[in-house]
Subunit: 376 residues, 2 copies
């Protein structure tokens, strides 16, 4: 991949990533398509909201429909008819959060499928092979993810596993790259829990190994917001300037803006689509409960400043009715809207960085967005 920083504003960066399936403008929000589908949406709709890159998940796709099926289809892009870029997660996070059993061994993790209880061994090599076969534009190292409240000894062990696996991931990635001559990229993942010294060590060693980009993993898993912000800043300051930085699993507007300010370029999170399906929409004036009774006769869009398909074509009154009547169209419209909201947020953040006015933009946005938890 090629990555260039077009402009900085403090630590905030406006960049351009050139990937095999098109250009990605950073900061970027990546909608999550865990099982080969960004929940409720078609690939056409993702293009319409200007999605440049989505997430896929090695763990889920390996178990179902299985890697071989997607390989036969000609890769994940073809399988799901998505023409732009895909980043795949390595499965580390899922294996340590979704499975009923997981046992860390020297060579990897033995885990039990959350679908059928079958036993599997996931190794760094296998994770990279899967992601290679899926045809991901960006591949993530296999890592060990821990909850927020883990004591230091365990956090150290997990960080050391992550480092050892990063080395093996890179080796396997290089072997496959030599063999297959594709243009995929590999990102390392910084772990270390809430412990600053572990984060520093992990970051430095990963940078020594050298990756196409670096992710900050294991945040937004239950720790205090301040802890998340501080670790994001700490790690960003240690990462090379000229490589993309990806804060995993973060997609709440206020957290994204804080992370952009610290120098983060990439985000993913299921929060936007999950909130949408639960009936919560993002608006410039804060979150809006789409089931609220006073919306029944509000014949205006979810957000009058939004340019998404839902806001251009449907009213709050109609969408509220769809939620009350349990119509699937409700979930679709709210999902389109929330994703478009985050994509617009990163677009505006990018413009503000280019104009050297990011801080001003952030304060103005948050002042309005956070004025109440829910609109009154």
């Amino acid at each position: 991949m090629e990555f260039c920083i077009e402009k900085t504003d403090g630590n905030a960066r406006a960049g351009i990533m050139k990937l095999p399936h098109g250009i990605v403008h950073t900061p970027v929000f990546m909608p999550v398509g865990t099982q080969g589908s960004v929940k409720t949406l078609s690939s056409e709709e993702l293009e319409e909201i200007e999605t440049e890159i989505i997430l896929g998940n090695a763990y889920h796709l390996y178990l179902r429909p299985k890697t071989e099926v997607i390989k036969l289809a000609g890769g994940l892009h073809k399988f799901m008819n998505w023409k732009r870029n895909i980043l795949t997660d390595s499965g580390g996070f899922q294996i340590f959060s979704l499975t009923t059993l997981n046992k860390v061994k020297e060579e990897g993790v033995i885990f039990q499928s959350h679908i059928d209880g079958s036993y599997h061994l996931m190794t760094p090599q296998k994770s990279i092979q899967i992601q290679y076969d899926l045809g991901a534009d960006i591949i993530m190292c296999f890592d060990q993810c821990i909850p927020a409240d883990v004591e230091k000894e365990k956090a150290t062990q997990a960080m050391e596993n992550t480092l050892r696996w990063a080395f093996l991931s890179k080796k396997e990635f290089e072997r496959l790259s030599d063999e297959l001559d594709k243009n995929q990229s590999l990102f390392g993942i910084v772990q270390g829990g809430i412990y600053h010294d572990l984060r520093v060590k992990c970051t430095e060693e990963l940078v020594n190994l050298g990756f196409d980009g670096y992710a900050i993993g294991g945040l937004s898993v239950g720790e205090e917001k301040d802890v998340m912000y501080k670790i994001t800043e700490l790690v960003c300051n240690l990462l090379p300037f000229d490589k993309p930085r990806y804060l995993m699993g973060v997609g709440v507007p206020e957290d994204m803006l804080n992370a952009i300010e610290a120098g983060v370029d990439m985000f993913d999170c299921v929060f936007a689509t999950r909130s949408a399906r639960n009936g919560t929409a993002f608006t410039m004036d804060g979150k809006l409960n789409l089931r609220r009774s006073d919306l029944a006769t509000q014949f205006i869009p979810i957000d009058e400043e939004c340019d998404c398909f839902a806001c251009k074509n449907y009213t709050r009154a109609y969408i509220r009715h769809l939620f009350k009547a349990e119509e699937i169209l409700a979930l679709r419209l709210a999902s389109i809207h929330n994703l478009r909201f985050l994509i617009n947020l990163t677009k505006r953040a990018r413009e503000a960085i280019i104009k050297g006015r990011f801080k001003e933009f952030k304060l103005k946005f948050l002042e309005r967005y956070l004025k109440s938890e829910y609109q009154s």
Copy 2:
């Protein structure tokens, strides 16, 4: 409304209906949007599959979001952002099939809402008022629908209620038309269960009253197929040539073709969309179970002869995966496909009628379509 028969082929008819929201080519299949949404689909997608008219339901919309809300929105078209035609059902069918309690009185029916158990009185006048307020292009008379196995005495009573209510429906419709000067149309509904003499009497009396079109109700409710075909034929032969005929609740390909042959012009049914959500797709070679394991590596469309969004963009393998993974996109793609299949079926039937080759078309279609219940 204006209705003209362009061509006949035996009793089959190719017609054109001019309604306030555009032309409808008959025979026509009308997707069902019970609660102001054709399940899983946007109005844009309905336009894409060339839907010319959809169904709405007075009973459901009266209870939720309530008629007043839709009236405030400027009518059902505006509420759901649907620019083409809408026919609304009167609520008769739903009141006699969905409610936990219904009691027929002289003036109408007292029923209990299936949503919250609240009590309501529905009269012919009220049903027409609701449909008027919804802004339906075609309004249906309030009728009493009975199950297939009802004895003659009860069937007679229900038919006589239906006739009395048709008279009152028409009176109310005329009063509102004089008052409001809109361009809506009113259809009568033939009831009478499985009893030929009741069907004959009901048809003749409705024709004497005079309506813009005539529906055959109370079929496809559990009776034998032969009974349905015979009654459809019987009623069609008694209806005026120059008015549209609508067979309610029928939307199975083979039944539609038989009814078209008998002279039916309009159809509606939830079967296409419900089957889709259950994972069954219509294809030229019969029904296809989209969860079938051998589809896992079939990288071809649901139906290679289909021109719908699902078939142009996604494979059986992918759609099967979406069903197995319980992704909502599966329901959408199958729904688009099945509706497009029925709309294409009526389009082809129409072309065949115009060419004077309907019987040939029907036989050829059914030979292939019915060769097996499920593709082997």
